[in-house]
Symmetry: C2
Subunit: 390 residues, 2 copies
Amino acid sequence: MSIIEPASSQRVVPLPSETMAFRAAMPFVTDGGVAIIPLDVAYQTYGVLNAEKSNAVLVCHALTGDQHVASVNPVTGRTGWWETMVGPGRPIDTDRLFVICSNVIGGCMGSSGPASINAATGKPYGLDFPVLTIADMVRAQAMLIDHLGIDSLFCVAGGSMGGMQVLEWAANYPQRVFAAMPIATSARHSAQNIAFHEVGRQAIMADPDWQGGRYLETETRPAKGLGVARMAAHITYLSENALQSKFGRKLQNRDARTFSFDADFQIESYLRYQGLSFVERFDANSYLYLTRAMDYFDLAAEHGGALSLAFKGSQTRFCVVSFTSDWLFPTSESRAIVHALNAGGASVSFVEIDSDKGHDAFLLDVPDLFATTSGFINAAAKARGLAVAS
Amino acid sequence: MSIIEPASSQRVVPLPSETMAFRAAMPFVTDGGVAIIPLDVAYQTYGVLNAEKSNAVLVCHALTGDQHVASVNPVTGRTGWWETMVGPGRPIDTDRLFVICSNVIGGCMGSSGPASINAATGKPYGLDFPVLTIADMVRAQAMLIDHLGIDSLFCVAGGSMGGMQVLEWAANYPQRVFAAMPIATSARHSAQNIAFHEVGRQAIMADPDWQGGRYLETETRPAKGLGVARMAAHITYLSENALQSKFGRKLQNRDARTFSFDADFQIESYLRYQGLSFVERFDANSYLYLTRAMDYFDLAAEHGGALSLAFKGSQTRFCVVSFTSDWLFPTSESRAIVHALNAGGASVSFVEIDSDKGHDAFLLDVPDLFATTSGFINAAAKARGLAVAS
């Protein structure tokens, strides 16, 4: 279902994946003061926009996600990353809602990023691509939403880095967000999370194949470095209990330790696989840029130093969700958001879901998350005068 | 105070650091079935062994520790790693006790390890050194204790990997251990901890300067890989709260974000320093071997599958210590040890110390740890008929 957009003011951009692409007609200047020209935003949509354009849901993806939220990813061949949540009859029901998901800028699935061609040189940007913020990503999404002719989004939803975008949308475009669902996220990246990101970046930059970020010019990739970065990050996505119950000290296809550095344990084999498969689908420089944007995220600092100011007088309805075993974005981070929303006078419900799946819970089959989302979406739809699932 | 040992049955081994060295007269065969010939054990002692040889305390060091527990490390120039705990008037009081600390085999501070010369080739072992277990380390220590003419140790104490050695001593040499103090440790390495170790090993082995472990032959070092490994590990030694209160989102010698991949944040600068300084003092292959030994540690598996069997009928007095904010070796791991000791009928006291310093608390200035240790050591000394501090 490749759809190339015919809009007159935008150029058609060929992309490696089946998706739509929007090229901004206006110059885009980052928070760091650098213009990205042209700026491309690759996206997918599901469902039908109603005549009032009042049923649009923007889904924001996480660090290693993409626009293929509810359909097969043409690069990996895998199902959409949130098919449990988005689709016909799902909590975010594409039979009733028009769902948009765009690849964040800085990413590597068609939106402008460090692997894009720098018009000034004719070569991939590499580290000449400007360092971005979450606000930059959201501003690019807002240009896409403008382009689609949508004034007000019914809902903006996402987890992790996606949740950061949700918060940024609600803070910077309060009139355009009817409902917001930040999941397993934080209003500012913690020291520990910056630390883990820095480990990943150093692993990538330590790989000689990274070549100062110019690896695409020689058709190489810092696969080992990116693999190590992914392995380290992957541990933080899971809970200790989940690792213990899933893997424990089980050996991998062997009866005894080999007294070597082979992957004796299942957890080692699993992690190595995670590293290897990740490098097949993700660009190392994009990993640098997206982790950096998360590190830089501090919504209170953007709003006079108090998080409540970011949401002052907001008419948006919020549903904040955390998971008990998420130690990357623990419930305390969600509570801080809830407190600020309360202080700002916003309407907010807060659900801490009991799960042993760790941070990854937001992507997994967690019935309480689906029930929470359905309840929130249906109540908001009713308030918006949209059809509600029977 | 370089002391070269004159024992007749052992050869004198010159070492790079001021320390004593014991060379085993008997062949040493690892749990993996490989002989290490010769086997050297580098060690330090503090205080005076009494005539009854009843006041000896063996201190076991952690992954990146060494034998210089209470005196300046000749390699780094830094004070001993446990001077707060061991020394004149300290909880482990060298005015009354004879303290021994040996570099674990597999290490890089004088004991046999992958950087040692392989007699068969005349070159450094590299990966031809056999993979070791914690039990191997302890068996080598027992040979040293034999050599010193000590039948029964008054106490064996250590934290983290040192605590694993304490447990192994108590399980395998119950008659030779009067008191045992395993601190911030576990009777079996968890899946999450194996996972973090595997990330570190992959980071080292991804560094082309590692050269399959043969880097010493070309006078290179996999500094970047070892640095990344250390950075990742270092995060696990600290608590999230400690990182947040110490570093938070503070910037490093700058007023604003640089929109680059420089170390904008203090936590980044701190981690990079930890990585850089570690490679100055530690051998990358030793890091592989010691993490592997910890991964392989599973005391219950060594004793018929039940941890209580490891301690059945033990006459040793135990003091098990954990720290509230230690998420690498959480209190649940210590509780499992305590339950097994209770089930085995052993004498055990258990102290969970309230601290926000994370796993590193056992190395830091934590008054409750000193008070706990003093109390335990003095009571045990009284029971052993040793002089007790007034």
